[in-house]
């Protein structure tokens, strides 16, 4: 569990702070000890990735993994963020895991079409939630992320 690359920063983008907290806690519990950043708006997520605005002086070292919610207020949805990241050459390699409450097959397909790595539905049942996050932690542990050439996590 501890073999997740230490330099990997897990960025949780979710408008619900509670969800961010729950994901973070459960991931920590599974042994993920990486740095966590929580962001509540889509545009701020892009600011973080592109080192601008409030995140202009962010350290450029290390890799990013994005846990992205879909429904967010403030103009940019998770789908918009995903589309922008996957459209840009420099950020296309960033692994994106969709973590949302939506289990609508159309949305799921759309996300995969846009290039997300994994799509995980947030279960309400805490046991299932735990299970999902544990799987996520396992997933993170097997990910090899070369600093310059990130491996895209294959679809399930």
């Amino acid at each position: 569990m501890n073999n997740v690359s230490k330099s990997l920063t897990v960025v949780i983008v979710d408008d619900d702070p509670g969800h961010c907290e729950l994901v973070m806690r459960n991931l920590r519990r599974t042994g993920v000890s990486n740095e966590f950043v929580t962001i509540h708006r889509g545009d701020e997520a892009l600011d973080f990735i592109y080192r601008r605005g409030a995140y202009a002086d962010r350290s450029a070292s290390g890799d990013i993994l994005l846990l992205l919610d879909i429904n967010m207020p403030g103009g940019l949805s998770g789908l918009d963020v995903l589309r922008e990241i996957k459209a840009a050459e420099t950020t296309r390699q960033i692994p994106v895991i969709m973590l949302t409450t939506t289990d609508d097959p159309r949305e799921i397909n759309l996300c995969y079409d846009l290039g997300c790595s994994v799509y995980i539905t947030k279960p309400i049942d805490p046991a299932k939630f735990m299970e999902a996050v544990t799987r996520l932690g396992l997933l993170l542990s097997v990910v090899r992320l070369p600093s310059e050439n990130m491996t895209v996590i294959s679809r399930e």
Binding site: G18, L22, N71, T101, T102, D125, P126, F129, M130
Partner: protein
Amino acid sequence: MSTPGSLPRSFSLQRGHLPHITHLLWLAGIAIAYIAAAQLGFALAFATKQVTAIWPPTGIALAAFLLRGNRIWPAVFLGAFVSNAISHEPIHTAAGIAIGNTLGPLCGAALLRRIVKIDFGLGRVRDVLSLTLFGSVLAMIITSTNGVSNLILGGIVPLRAAPSVWWVWWVGDAMGALLVAPAILTWFQDPRADWRGVRLVELGLATAALVLVSIVSFSTELPLAYPVFPIVIWVGLRFEQRETALAILMVSAVAVWQTAHDHGPFVAGSLDQRLGLLVTFLAVLSVTGLMLGALAAERRRAEASLRLANEELESRVIERTAELEQANRDLAASNLQLGFRTEELARKNEEVEAFVYIVSHDLRAPLVNLQGFSRELELSCADLETTLARASVEPDISASLRSIVEHGIGGALRYIGSSVSKFERLINALLLLSRTGQQEYRMETIDTAALVASTVDAYRQTIGSAAAVVTIGDLPVARGDVTAIGQVFSNLLGNALKYLQPGRPGEIAIGGATEENFSRYWVRDNGAGIPNSARPKLFQVFHPELASGDGIGLAAIKRIVERHGGRIWAESTYGQGSTFQFTLPISKTEQGHDE
């Protein structure tokens, strides 16, 4: 004249006692006409003045009584008296004759008015017949009997001559009534000279023909009396009774005149023979002509009333057609309105479903927190207990803290947990239903037999573990979305398996039949059945059984069936089993509107 019922008595008496000036003029006119006609009658007499084939004054008297009523009797009496007095009868004989000459036409007119209610236009066959019988044949028995009596009493005619004189008298009066009265009556009834164009030409031709033929016929001694008949018949059929009556009178005048002056076909034989021939001819001519005229008039009236009825019918048909067209237009408008409504309803339904989807979806996010942090609290409590076990605390405080953590916090968390679970089930049901409503269908002809076979196959394990027997009967094809209809069968089969009666070998039958435009399917089980209390809510969204999570629920399959234009219902005996049935359209036209 007096109308005591409606006018002041003094006034009506005054009016009654003072004859109106018009009345006096009428009296004078009738009397003069009578006397003049009598002179004409004398002029037409054969050889002796007593023998006249036609006595025109009687016709004038009959017509006058019919047209002006009984009160003109003084004119008739005066006319008759004067006429007879002029012809050198003794005064008392003239007066006696005048009484009969007044009474005869008066009685005839009374009979015709009261009993027959004669139409002065002689437009009916019965008018002509009754005028002949009552006005002429019967009424003139009075005048002739009275006249002959007076002649005998006055010593002018010997008793033995009575039958012959009576006969001649009666014939003259009867012919006068039969020939003259119709002409007067019909012209008084309709005095308009309204012939135009072709009609006028025709009338002129008929008149000319009549005059020519009459003169020729009654000038030679050859038996040529009958050529006038076709002309009178022509007039009778083509014109009104007034023209016919005038034509008959004209022919009669010529015939009588010529016969009286020893010309024409009727001059052969004795005086009586002449009279007999002439009178028979005139009577036949008159009755024939007037009868034909009456028949023609009756036919014209029938035609007119038929035409009127036709026109009325036509206008009624037009009216009704217009009403129907209006009703049709109204119906079309209502249909259009209904179409709009249906569309609006479908749109509203979609909106509601979209709304339900969004709401139920958004409601999930806080639920994740509720459950997640409940779990966090539980973990914290566990940590607290572990810490407590390690810490050195007073035993009673430790016990109290444990109780708080376990019962206080733990109990509360369990309630929160079960409520959130229930909330989640409800939201899931809503989501499923709204998704069912929004799902796009691909309509095709479904091989229902293959679909059901694969559905049953998917339940193979469940069927095996329940030791149930599933039989599949005939299954007709239907039109629909194969995935959606598969869900319907799957759900119904799942329910049947789920609610089998424990301790009884499960038997489930799936079958179908073809109705008129629909295929009907059923899933029958011998399971627990549905309690009566649960039936009304069976297909509702928040039915407790439905929210339990497996299958897509009865509300959703009802939505699917209804979107296909079908119907679903359940029959059940509690404790004995249930039968769920649904219909699907066979042809394209029966599809649901929101497909």
